[in-house]
Amino acid sequence: MTATANPNDMIHVRATPEEKRSTIIGAVLIALGAYIFWQFGLGVEPGLQATFNLSLQTDTVQGLAWVVDPRQFSMIIGVIVAGLGGWRLTRRALQYTNLSLAISFLLLVMAFLAWAAAGSQFSLVGMLRSTVVLSVVVVFGALTGLMCERVGVVNIGIEGQLLAGAFAAVVLSSAFGTAAGVLGGVAVGALLGWLLAWLSIRFQVDQIIAGVVINFLALGLTSLMSARILSEIQTLNAPERIPAIRIPFLADIPVLGAMFFDHTYFVYGMFLLVFGIHYGLFYSRWGLRSRSVGEHPKAADTAGINVYWVRYRNVILGGMIAGFGGAFLGLAQVARFEENMTGGIGFIGLAAMIFGRWLPIGALGAGLVFGLSRAVQQKVAILNTGIPSEFLFMVPYIVTIIVVAGVVGRTRPPAADGIPYIKD
């Protein structure tokens, strides 16, 4: 017999954390739905149209567009978002809380864009393409963090590894050609990975401090050399931009082609790495051993696995991924080196790793959220909506903070994350 079975019972049921969270998010979504309804729906003058262009000039299929009435469109979206919120308030199907949140986020973006583009045109496909491009460095950064944390080493130095990778790639590419640049970026990343591993494994230096050291080292050295050398010898800061490779047939698909199949090999490499590391982590010997070292190093040791070697290997591999990401930044995205050109994106990568629950596919998703916020910000800045551009510039970071600070719910890092392994 349970307490609830007896109607005369005055015992009240306390909510579980998931239920509380569902309620809070429900309330937030209802408020958001109402805001969308009034601001982006009723806030638009009747009769205006918003045109979303779905073709780029480079596309095979030209002239695709999607025309909506922003008033109606946003009002409907407001109702849907509020409806999702009401559903959350019922505290049923708790496993759908995150999905509701993700859908609401996308709908919010759509309504916002319709409102911003009311009475004019807007290249939706261009924005989607930018989303992918702008997420690349974040995803590489997240993968770096994940490679390290999965074996129990916290890497705060991703930012520095990206920056140093970019610098090496730009200089070597300018001097000796693209291949040398990419390899050099990867090698410098590996070197900084090794430094982190060496400091934190050999000397058991606090891993956070070791990471901070790497960041300052990278920022200081690259800024110094950039000011002293690159400003003097400008040919060293003029790498050839790495061209995109159109994938036959796939690149001709409307929208998707421009989004995914007309990029540099870095972007294809990112997708391969994400899926490769994901499946490798869970289905390969490498992954099993790596995870065991991050979760319970002593158990790994007693199973005959060399904990130190596994940590060295993964942290260096992580550094190489960061170096590769830096090469993308320096050789494909920007095609020159600028002081502190990473501008904190390595930290965003770290956040994406957490948001993605230490899973590569999760990190990709988180990276795309960041990329989308950045892309929206860039496109909307052009649309002249009256929103201060400084505010728009903050948005991607705010989104990241909100997401990491708990909207995502409880996540579980590897159990031995950040803890040195000491024998005897």
């Binding site: 307490a3 306390r14 051993r289 007693t302 159990a415």
Partner: protein, 504 residues
Amino acid sequence: MALELTGITKRFPNVLANDDVSLSVGEGEIVAMLGENGAGKTTLMNVLFGLYTPDEGEVVIDGKPLEFGSPGASIAAGLGMVHQHFMLVPVFSVAENVILGLEPTNGVGWINQKEARRLVNDISNRYNLAVDPDAMVEDIPVGVQQRVEIIKVLIRDAKYIIFDEPTAVLTPPEVEEFFAIVRGLKEDGRGVIFITHKLNEVIEVADRIVVLRDGKSVGEADPKATTQSHLAEMMVGRPVDLVVSKDPAEPKDEVLSVDRLVVLDDRGQRTVEDLSLSVHAGEIVGIAGVQGNGQTELVEAITGMRPALMGNIRVGGVDVTEFTPRQMHHLGVAHVPEDRQESGLVMAFTIAENMVLDSYYDHPYSRGVRMDWGVATDAAERLVREYDVKAKRVDAPVSTLSGGNQQKVIVAREFDRGVKLVIASQPTRGVDVGSIEYIHARIVEERDAGEAILVVSSELDEVMALSDRVLVMFEGRIVGEFDPTTTSTTEIGLAMLGSGGNDE
């Protein structure tokens, strides 16, 4: 063919953990190793398994000398070890834990999952272990986790297998099953070293008994020709009283009252279901039950570590259902947690720091923002003496203590506070007979001083010996209440399995 250790000496800073120990185990032989907490049993086995490098001595396995300091080398030489604190990755499946280190792959590094499952099933069937290869280790009971450890050892085809206190975490029926497994290993021609503090087990299963004291081997005994009290005396060096002597309880006011409590476990299952109980000042109430029937969640809810879904908890009339652990502490509730390393101690802190861990902010240890370490050290030194904690200095990290001595640190801290209510989970887990005698006497003393005491233990003998009232918990409910002086162990044992008992 045999495993032979000769003249092993292992020193830690300030401690001589093993002093010229020699030992041999033959094929098909079960050797039991006894010794007080801190006698050096675990250290000796860790040397054997390559986790520690000895300062002197040598090990020969089947004629070949063993290379020290590498678990890999020990495994290759045919050694296997089931550790005192399990070496399993909680978020891995059984199969993943078993194959870790010798993964069957398809040649390019992808794990052959089918083969992994087959390996587990093969051994599980051969030794009747009934383990599901796909279960997550964190979801299965400790008894089954131990079988996973055994499979790990067998899959590496270990010829000599070390069990470090394997029965400390098992329930009586699981212990019987475990003995059946060990006998199977013996018939297979494997040698077994078996460490325990339970003297009856040693007599039941061992072929030969070795006793360590203060790092030295102090003699052997023949299980057929010895008695428990003789063994206890060999270990401790003095006669030990194996039964608790106490007067009948004189219960006074109600201190703890739990009313229709419902608690969820980590996976959201209702593991405590409509449970009510009360404990009065001056009595010891024991909760018996097979581990995993909600005892853990019950204790966590009472001590404020886990929210209650429904129901109420009162201490001395105050509703404490939504209190935090610190508020509970202030109210005068002491708690000996079930997992000492997880929630009882900060392993990297010193013994003294751990002794004041829960009252460092109070008089007399704290003066304003400053700690008075002099007072804290004095208090810690007194407790270390009283509870016979084997430690050279109270400023050594608690992680350097042996398992049983870590337990004594917690028990000393919690029972020394002079509180209203003590909740003790597995208070003597891994503690040697001499110290059990002392801890039990202390618990009775606190009772007589008017404290209310709730003891939760999967050790039926302990519950029977200590309690004034025994409650049996099964599937989250109290299924019976017994008077231990008039009830037989068998009757309670049956109730623990959910059959019989005087169900309300």
